[in-house]
Symmetry: C2
Subunit: 372 residues, 2 copies
């Protein structure tokens, strides 16, 4: 079990900061994981990712299992070797993408049958297959196979998915064969705090190296998610990392951290970066907007990323209007660095007992305000 | 006039090596200039370009004049400031793109009227406008406005374009207003060596800071171009840089260097990189090919670029099949470095009197052989 140490816990909230040690390096928590869907952070090299002070990245089991396949990756060693990233990696279970991207043919207790979104090939995925794939990929942290219900769903559907998630968690733990990979269990239950807590008890009973909340940020409001987090996160085991999957916007991150969450992943910095949305402490900049045309200032004068040290808003706007690849690349680099600077500042404020200051320093964490 | 010094000339050919000093840095010749069409080497940051040991890059006046316009660039300072590249830059005159990309409405001695390839807007370009734009862009080296006839063309058409090029060169020199930019004259004349030499005499008579051959690599065979180069290049002034525009393949570069050429530009490393063609000393690798699927070796084991130091052929193939932006970026970085390593090796061999060795070390310079 990877050493996890909480060095400080906030006195006014459940926020905490610490370190998780993995075979490929130490992760400072709270930690934000950029997403390398197919084994690459879109448009960003591992060297550029390293310069953003990212400790750990996430790769998607579903995408890698379809292409190039886990067996192909394994011939290169581990995923780290294949993608040229020597730091820690987390792979998800593949479940979320099967339920959101693929066309589902059948779901039952054994697992799921679906059609590949790439070529329509009929494939199956179940806990044993997910563990086999993730064992072959060799990420530092891997995830139990779960069923993620969309929101809103009927209470019956959410309950059924939650119970199946528990059964699949048990099988995932049995199927996991590698000692040098941490296996995290996933708690489902929709927005029903009681159901979440019952699921949490069952998942903890099985016993994992860390615990995740899945099935949030899937259609519910900020208030709904916050309420659920406030009721559940701090009841997750204190001695193990707590991971909120697929989240999120800066204010989501801060709310979750105050509820006791340690880890996050989200495509937002890169997806928004490719679409010309740049994060700043005050909100978004839409980089295609005409107001940036003659603006020689960087996206964020306080940011120390390569993009902000080197390029003006005017140039980045030009790149997007000219459909130059560098527009998405430079904005993604900035956005990832923005998230890492935000996390770093939170890690500084927690030991000082001043996490609420983050809302003054980063007004974007109060609401999803926009500027141009 | 920028200091240009030839340190060594080959005894068996007209090949020579030296340095050209510009306000933004020294260019080692023979020099290869990667092309940043719209003010960005597609997919490659200035930092990554610097790591390829590139001394100077080219930007296209036509593209920048249309978008974002020279006036916009000038509000940011010079082109260097706008694009974040602190090394030397050369801008072309815009003529080549007007004749190849835009829809021509009219050409006469005053200049050309054409429709923008972006939005169909009717625009004009003439020597005075080209100089004004290039003066505003502020590149270290700028080019006289010329008429580039496609090949094959009738002798009458080539002669007319050549004579117009001479008249436009005279007007370009008069219109050029900045002391800290070198202005190069362009020699046209198609494949007719006599016409080329008459044009060269006239252009030298006007007097420029360097001399370029335009209108080659526009449809003729390797043998036709080589014959033309052999008859013309060594008769260009020995005390000024000689620049062959828009060339080319590795064997074109070596043939031209042996004819006495000092500078080149070409989109090949980046255009081929985006299309999954990687250069090696033995020929091309088509990175999408199935033979690379399980190949853990780099594109070129002898290459020291970031791509070859970090990634396997198998991973790069995966990136292209998954349509990941990193495939074009990593292959472009390698290809640019390939061209710079080739030029560097040639610069080493010339003082040793052993330039012919380049054909053994880089068989791709003998013929455009392909491997997979």
């Amino acid at each position: 079990m990877f050493p996890f140490e909480v060095s400080h816990t906030d006195s006014d909230s459940h926020a905490r900061t610490g370190t998780l040690v993995t075979p490929h390096g130490t992760i400072r928590t709270p930690a934000f994981m950029p997403v390398g869907t197919c084994g690459s952070i879109k448009g960003v090299t591992p060297a550029q990712l390293g310069e953003t002070d990212t400790d750990i990245m996430l790769c998607n089991t579903y995408h890698l299992a379809l292409r190039p396949t886990a067996d192909v990756v394994a011939t290169f060693g581990e995923l780290h070797d294949f993608i040229g990233w020597s730091g820690p990696i987390l792979t998800d279970s593949g479940g979320f993408q099967v339920f959101s991207l693929a066309q589902l043919n059948r779901i039952d207790d054994d697992g799921v049958e679906f059609k590949s979104h790439i070529d329509g090939a009929v494939l199956t995925l179940n806990p044993e297959q997910s563990m086999d794939i993730q064992n072959k990929l060799g990420a530092d942290i891997i995830m139990a196979f779960d069923q993620c219900p969309p929101l809103p769903s009927t209470p019956e559907f959410v309950t059924e998915a939650t119970e199946r998630t528990i059964r699949w968690a048990r099988r995932s733990k049995v199927a996991h064969t590698r000692d040098n990979q941490a296996l995290f269990g996933i708690v489902q239950g929709g927005l029903d705090v009681d159901l979440r807590l019952r699921c949490l008890d069952a998942i903890v009973e099985i016993g994992f190296d860390g615990y995740a909340l899945g099935g949030l940020s899937v259609g519910e409001s900020f208030e709904e998610m916050s309420t659920c987090l406030a009721g559940v996160a701090h009841k997750m085991p204190t001695d193990r990392p707590r991971y909120l999957m697929g989240v999120g916007m800066p204010r989501d991150l801060v709310a979750a951290i105050r509820s006791g969450i340690d880890m996050f992943d989200c495509v937002l910095p890169t997806r928004n970066g490719r679409n010309a949305y740049a994060f700043t402490p005050d909100g978004f900049l839409k980089m295609r907007n005409a107001c940036h045309k003659l603006d020689a200032s960087p996206i964020d004068a306080a940011c120390d990323c390569y993009t902000c040290r080197t390029f003006s808003r005017g140039y980045i706007r030009h790149l997007f209007l000219a459909n130059e690849m560098l527009g998405p690349t430079l904005t993604s680099i900035h956005n990832i660095r923005f998230f890492q600077r935000l996390m770093n500042r939170i890690r500084e404020l927690i030991p000082q007992g001043k996490i609420e200051r983050i809302h003054d320093e980063y007004p974007v964490t109060r609401e999803n305000s926009k500027v141009e």
